[in-house]
Point group: C2
Chain length 302, copies 2
Amino acid sequence: MKIALVGIGKIAIDQHVPSIAASNDWELMATVSRSGTVEGVPAFNDLGTMLAERPDISAVSLCLPPVPRYEYAAACLKAGRHVMLEKPPGATLAEIHALNAIARDADVTLFATWHSRMAKGVHAAKAALAGKTIKHGHIDWKENVRQWHPDQDWVFEPGGMGVLDPGINALSIMTEVLPNPVHLQSAVLHTPSNRQTPIRAEMKFTSNVTASFDWLKEGEQTWEQRFTATDGTVVHLLDGGNRCVVDGEERALDALGEYPALYARMAELVKNGQSDVDLSPMVHVSDIMTLARREIAPAFDW
Amino acid sequence: MKIALVGIGKIAIDQHVPSIAASNDWELMATVSRSGTVEGVPAFNDLGTMLAERPDISAVSLCLPPVPRYEYAAACLKAGRHVMLEKPPGATLAEIHALNAIARDADVTLFATWHSRMAKGVHAAKAALAGKTIKHGHIDWKENVRQWHPDQDWVFEPGGMGVLDPGINALSIMTEVLPNPVHLQSAVLHTPSNRQTPIRAEMKFTSNVTASFDWLKEGEQTWEQRFTATDGTVVHLLDGGNRCVVDGEERALDALGEYPALYARMAELVKNGQSDVDLSPMVHVSDIMTLARREIAPAFDW
């Protein structure tokens, strides 16, 4: 199946291009970007032109920041193309509800991806907690924004979500592995005095689940979740979900990496004529932004 | 049908009690409150006791602030009672999704009410815009918080929503009357330097719909919406939706007031075994809280 990539930045080059190249389902036939290109692949700098000139390309994968994403996604769906969205699927919940309706009307696939859900240990964690009741849990998602998003000022602009941008990865795993949904009870957001979005966040959910997101972590980077069930089972996800330890024992991992697994899933959805739009990680982020107490943190500069 | 009221404050006394008294469907059989009572009605100060001692009461109407509401609603639904929620239905979207699931499991009615949708001109406005395309629109929702919420500090605490508490009334009307959904494109929130929630908000939605919420309006209070369709139709809702003028002509109004209409609708839902949980006004508020640029406003004191 033929696919186009829109938005040729770091994530497209590092993850999407090699995942498509390694896939038996997909062939990269075009890119759309104002600046980036992929060697050997026809490059467009305008989406409308690509859609008009390449009716043979049935699917489009969008790797744009959340704020501009809606217009591109709506245009692709209305042109009858299947669409795959990087996380988060948009800047607002209402716009994803709208995209969902457009996809249904156009009878095409919409896939709101959560790449961290495809981390290699997530299935094992979900299986280990299935049918159980959570007694307590904690998430630590602590990384260095200067290392992972150098000079990307948009992450601190409205809609950029700040530390909730990596944090939504943690929440996408949490919502996948927990046997029952939780909801936010309280949160504190720490926003640098010269920025719009939080750099540190503390959350308290029901079922005694807490989470701590920090974007100023130097040295070892920490992406871990640990859940204890009432029957004593302890599930520990490490390395962003790519290792799973249950009651002290390493569990077998999935074979495919995150992005190759997303493209395999997209192929399956298109073949089955289905969509997959689970907004629960984004609902938690919206709830955090709505309910949190806000504190002012020291100014942040790169 | 027998009903209990939980949370006997200003809104319960001013609106709920007289609406139930005037209804042919409902009889007020109990109140639950730590402080308030209603003359001639058995008063409980604990919900669990009321649920245990009064199995004859099949429905509960909750008039509590949004933050404590979930635990009460969940307890009532799990006890097999139909539940009616004041707006907004909760402090988070995730908790309403959870309540919805509990209501389905218990096979009882959950009604997330939006009283402003029952304002007397809303049906006329919706009918006048049906099938049309919006060219532009504007909402002005400007009132004096000192008049309407004197000394209620909780409105400025996290979860209290600030000016988005009256603003969600405007959004509940907007989502009802517009022929197609809109979504937020940008917003600015002005939060007093000594408070947690906004006192003024400016929103820009798709379809050229803008909104302006202000909680410091003295003198005449303004609750108006005006929508112009591409065919030239102009729909003007005034007095919080209680007057509707289409192309300069006053339209006929509904007979029932807002709260009597809510209790009539609740009776209908219970009789039909249905629920009514439309979260779209709250989704817009969450989107505003997520996407807005935040500015600091002068300190606010009562």
